[in-house]
Amino acid sequence: MNMYENTPGTTGLVFEEPLIFERSRPGRMGYSLPASDVPEVDPAAVYGAERVRESIAHFPEVSEPETMRHFVRLSQWNYGVDSGFYPLGSCTMKYNPKINETLSRLPGFLSSHPSYPAEMVQGSMELIAALECMLAEIAGMDATTLQPSAGAHGELTGLMLIRAYHLDRGDARTKILVPDSAHGTNPASSALCGYKVVEVKSGQDGCLHPNAVAAAMDEQVAALMITNPNTLGIFEKNIREIAEIVHAKGGLLYNDGANMNALMGVARPGDMGFDVIQYNLHKTMSTPHGGGGPGSGPVSVKSVLEPYLPLPRIVRREEGFRWDWDRPKSIGKIKGFHGNFGVMVRAYAYLREMGREHVREAAERAVLNANYVRSMLKDLYHLPYETASMHEVVFTDRNQKDRGVVTMDIAKRLLDMGFHAPTIYFPLVVHSALMIEPTETESKESCDRFIDAMRRIDEASRIDPQSFQEYPKRTFRRRLNEVLAARTPVLRWKPAE
């Protein structure tokens, strides 16, 4: 068997590149600034010499050609969606449309400032208002705020709305129910919001069961926070019943919308009984992940929560769009200014290009791809839950582990074969999970190549399990010593003594 047949991974020339500091030489410059057209001021005269730094000690001095080469070389060590298949579960690594990158750089957007008078920035404001509406419609909600910066930030915002809602009713609740399969940000956001986190176990089928919720539910519970489809890629089929249980006890239902890519146009959280949801525009709405942000985590809510949404709210008046600060019940501000506007431009462009016609198709094909991968691999890889998958599928290493090959090894071998690894070891309810989310922008052939690689990896785990330790070999760096990094943290460059 040639493990590498059909797989895209191979090696090519790349370059070692030092730290930018190590490229520095005194007197080099990478900048180009005009001379002053006003009298030059002596900083020491303004501030007093002791406040003024001689120079920024040890800051680099590099020319532009060297700096360009530096960052080009760094980029070549990276793997992105434009490099290949990136089935990182829960992260929806779909294609980032290029026109959106271009349009988000229109000077009219780039040079708009949050403190300019509203009449000067009606374009930015109209875009915000329109995007709020579209997101509310997709979620089946009544109102949206775009202020949060990312998913976790949206969660925190949503939970704060819930807290404000209860307090406004004189009902100071203390707990949030969170299923065991939840993403780490859910308990973390709950705790940050001052809630006690109560874990609810999911059932054998990977779903949350009404009785489990009922057992945990009481009048101290502010909300049940669930991801739907959940992090196992399974739709919470009992959601309506669960919603009734929660609502009956005065609780609210929070949807971590990280997985909205499975549902867009197919079903709406608002119709299922959810009161609040956060989006991750950098997942569902195709905005770039940027190597870890910037994202955007809009929150859509039912009208009961609307009064509490962050300040200010965008409103349409006769004279145009305005920011309304007169919202006495608002939780206040959750981020400076109006959120990651540049990300919103991309999401808006995406939704306008997809439009009514194609948004649903995206969800359908995302689910198609995941189920296809599932059906092709389920004989070789252990599927911890038989329940139907939505846009992602979770396997484990159970079949391979006995041969000495674990999830980490499978992931690293995939890298070597030219694929990004799935999300691994999450969700925690599954032992050694491999969470695969192809997304709709991958073709059948792309899935087929990945399936083939996974089959070959299984085959190799039978034939030559010891070899796995050595991988990846083709990447710019081989396995990195994480223990060393954590034990003796070196978190920044320092000049040689």
Binding site: V81, G290, G292, R360, L484, L491
Partner: protein
């Protein structure tokens, strides 16, 4: 649809393999009553040329380019070399995610490491995280971090001269303990009022948060403040929204700041209606385990070669869940990269030069204002590229409106955030302003 590669044949073959008859069968696990039985009420799909026209229409509906603008107040109009965007457009950077697989993410990781190093040097702080959402949330997280470190000490003192957005967001984050957030007054110089501070510092105090330069553009006396705060065994938190000031001024670390949190947008060039932003967050080595957010560290690979990984993640939500130091997950990665490229290009000389240009232009405007009758500089202390003008002729709002009609945006009216500054304008001048722009502003003020 150009982003969806499936052909009809593909779909049929895949459905056959899965063993279902149609796409909608794939959604069988969604109860029928919950499925949407109508198309979404969204506008119809646009082709690329139509999309270009639509977004062009919106961008053009922003009219700021018709005006000469002197607005900063937390978001600054700065030059960014074209090269920066050429790097940001590298697919390998912007289409990757968090570097969970370090073997194929060394580019992102080394850049983060460089970012952490550059910011630490600039702030004269020991360590810096991989980024927060923005200055305001960073300020809030600094308050929370100080409270964790302070254990029993829960009170957060915050100067009224800290950026109003930072104060609002901090208040939101501390909404469960509103009494723990206490304002400290500003004196006539626009700085923290030492007497008020002394009266509030006590054994409950977790930290004092100040701005530097503060919202009025005024520099705080960091050394003195640090002394008082440390005497009270509290932490000293310095925030900022104009990091370019540190091109000339010593970093807050030099005065003993324990945490530095602020907004790095100035290093991104574009204002973008206020975001994407860049939350800069630095602290001392000894507090690293209480620090929120990701951090990248140096290590070795299996062949002993230098490499980088995300590290100290036991602080973080994906490991520690409800006990994490913060809930932050996705941060502002590409913005940190953008700042890294910017700072690398500017370098030791350029950043200083750029800062000096800002100072010179602002001082020129100050000098011209001093010559005008009917206007005064509200504060006597040194500023960087922003300061407060007191309008003695008419209410600030009238002056602001009069200049607006002349296509000049004369800063922001302070009154909304500071009722006591009813006739004050906060004006900002950067390297993007030519002398004629400034002269025109002065002339218009004189004529108003």
């Amino acid at each position: 649809m150009r982003y969806l590669p499936h052909t009809e044949d593909d779909i049929r073959l895949m459905l056959d393999q899965i063993g279902v008859g149609s796409i909608s069968d794939l959604f069988g696990s969604i109860p029928a009553s919950l499925r949407l039985d109508r198309p979404l009420d969204l506008p119809p799909a646009l082709s690329e040329p139509e999309l270009i026209r639509e977004l062009g229409r919106l961008a053009d509906a922003n009219r700021q380019n018709e005006y000469s603008r002197f607005v900063g107040a937390g978001i600054y109009d700065h030059f960014a070399p074209a090269m920066v965007d050429h790097i940001l457009l590298r697919s390998e950077f912007y289409t990757a995610y968090t570097p969970y697989q370090p073997e194929v993410s060394q580019g992102t990781l080394q850049a983060i490491f460089e970012y952490q190093s550059l910011i630490s040097l600039l702030m004269e702080m020991e360590i810096t995280n991989a980024s927060m959402y923005d200055g305001a949330t960073g300020c809030a997280e600094a308050a929370l971090m100080a409270r964790r470190i302070g254990r029993k000490r829960k009170r957060v003192l915050i100067a009224r001269s800290v950026h109003p957005e930072f104060r609002r967001v901090t208040a939101t984050y501390l909404a469960n303990d509103p009494d723990d957030l206490v304002d400290v007054d500003v004196d006539a110089h626009g700085r923290v009022d030492p007497a008020d501070l002394e009266s509030k510092l006590d054994e409950q105090t977790a930290c004092l948060i100040v701005g530097h330069p503060n919202y009025f553009g005024v520099l705080e006396d960091l050394d003195a403040l640090a002394g008082s705060v440390h005497d009270a065994k509290a932490l000293f938190v310095v925030t900022f929204s104009e990091p370019l000031a540190f091109g000339l001024l010593h970093g807050p670390g030099r005065s003993g700041a324990d945490i530095v949190a602020g907004e790095g947008q100035s290093f991104l060039g574009a204002m973008n209606y206020g975001g994407p932003s860049l939350g800069i967050f630095s602290t001392k080595d000894k507090y690293v385990r209480q620090m929120p957010g990701r951090v990248c560290g140096m290590t070795e690979d299996a062949d002993g070669r230098r490499g980088f990984v995300l590290t100290l993640s036991t602080r973080e939500q994906h490991i520690r869940r409800e006990k994490a130091t913060s809930n932050i997950c996705t941060n502002q990665g590409l913005c940190a990269l953008s700042a890294t490229v910017f700072l690398s290009l500017m370098g030791k000389q350029g950043l200083r030069r750029l800062a000096a240009l800002n100072l010179s232009k602002a001082e020129y405007l100050k000098a011209r204002i001093r010559e005008l009758s009917g206007y005064a500089l509200e504060h006597d202390g040194p500023t960087f590229n922003e300061f407060v003008i007191r309008c003695e002729r008419k209410p600030a709002a009238d002056i602001h409106r009069a200049l607006y009609e002349k296509k000049i945006l004369a800063g922001v009216k302070l009154k909304d955030d500071y009722p006591e500054f009813g006739s004050h304008l906060l004006v900002n001048v950067t390297e993007t302003h030519g002398r004629e722009d400034i002269d025109r502003l002065v002339r218009a003020l004189d004529e108003a």
